[in-house]
Amino acid sequence: MNGIHDMGGMHGMGPIKPEKNEPVFHAAWEGRAFALSMAVDGDWPYGADRYQIEMIPPEEYLRQNYCGRSCESERPRYPALSSRPARAPAQYESRGTYATTALHTRQNRDDRAEPWRFRIPGHQRQGLGEKPQHVYSVCFAARDLWGEQASRYDSIYVDLWDDYLEPA
């Protein structure tokens, strides 16, 4: 799915505005909201809070700041993910050509449907819901993603689960 949270490569978001001597929390409520989310996090299924944030309607997502979105995610309106240790062996070997495939909230929109080079061996990681699987660090040449405007020297490394890849 194309979620609003999937921002890589979007245009028109304006300049980056670093803040000098930025405090960790800008208001007391931000600290309280952060601490609450940490304190109650223990029993949540893996990735659940992130998924809740990803399901916030786009206009609301853009309007709220980070802490506001985290606060919103405390309202579980959608089924959550859970995790298990990976059992299945890794499906892919390093240095092959694979295509990216599945549509999921943690797969970026910009790396789908084209075959890409796959360079780095998989990091064995927990994965997705009831289907634990490996995660790979996948390298994309910047020009493969963005065309000639990108530098031929540049690349983007994305962490992708088994299900996001298929032999090309």
Partner: protein, 233 residues
């Protein structure tokens, strides 16, 4: 006058109600729309906290301790010590690049949002930049909580499509033939950039060079400079 508090409130509400809502159907519309307006976050968080404390799910002193930890104990100074150690000790540097979790744990850092660390090394020909385009994944144990710009739409959207433009915005101009590697933390791996040690710091102690290492240099939007270089820049 013997009007009690309840009577007074009833009267006040009736008068107010009469003034704004001539009939009940409008009163319903009003209520409905009112709920769509976002509440003040302060009130909302306070209400959430009270509720969780009341239900015994959260201990207020734990919240205070969490805030104190992330305001004062966990932050980029931790990462700076890791970087300074890697600069001082080539064997540690190798350990850090091959097994970051263990090497970082040697200095006593680890935990939430830093369980699976990868350290990427800058060289004269390679510059690394870290982003999380999907949210704001960031290596907390070594850098603390991310700054607002890291979590913002402008950085998340542009770091992957125009990394050199982003770096320019941070005052860093790279030569055309320097390879830029952008690391998008889309899963559970967290990245830390090992910046280049600035020239002229060879005689400085580990502690002294650690003081030069900035958060930005460990995200990859800056380089480490000496005070003299800083003035020149």
């Amino acid at each position: 006058m013997t009007t009690n508090r309840r009577d007074f409130l009833t009267a006040a509400v009736t008068v107010a109600g009469a003034a704004v809502t001539p009939d009940l159907s409008h009163a319903h519309d009003h209520d409905h729309e009112h709920q769509a307006v976002p509440s003040d976050p302060t009130l909302r968080v306070k209400a959430l906290e009270s509720l969780l404390v009341e239900k015994g799910l959260v201990d207020r002193s734990a919240l205070d301790a969490l805030i104190d930890t992330y305001e004062h104990k966990v932050g980029p100074r931790n990462g700076a010590r890791v970087v300074a150690r890697a600069w001082a000790d080539p064997v540690y540097r190798q350990r850090l690049l091959s097994n970051a979790d263990a090497a970082i744990a040697e200095l006593g850092y680890g935990g939430l949002q830093g369980e699976h660390m990868v350290v990427v090394e800058n060289t004269p020909k390679v510059h690394n930049l870290v982003v999380c385009t999907l949210c704001s994944c960031y290596p907390w144990p070594v850098l603390g909580l991310p700054p607002v710009w890291y979590k913002s739409a402008p950085y998340r959207s542009r770091a992957v499509i125009d990394p050199r433009g982003v770096l320019r915005e941070f005052g860093l101009e790279l030569a055309d033939d320097v390879e830029v590697r952008v690391w998008d933390s889309t899963a559970e791996l967290r990245y830390l950039v090992l910046p280049e040690r600035p020239a002229g710091t060879e005689k400085m102690s580990e502690e002294e060079v650690a003081a030069l290492v900035t958060r930005d240099s460990m995200v990859g939007v800056g380089k480490v400079t000496t005070p003299a270089q800083g003035v020149r820049a």
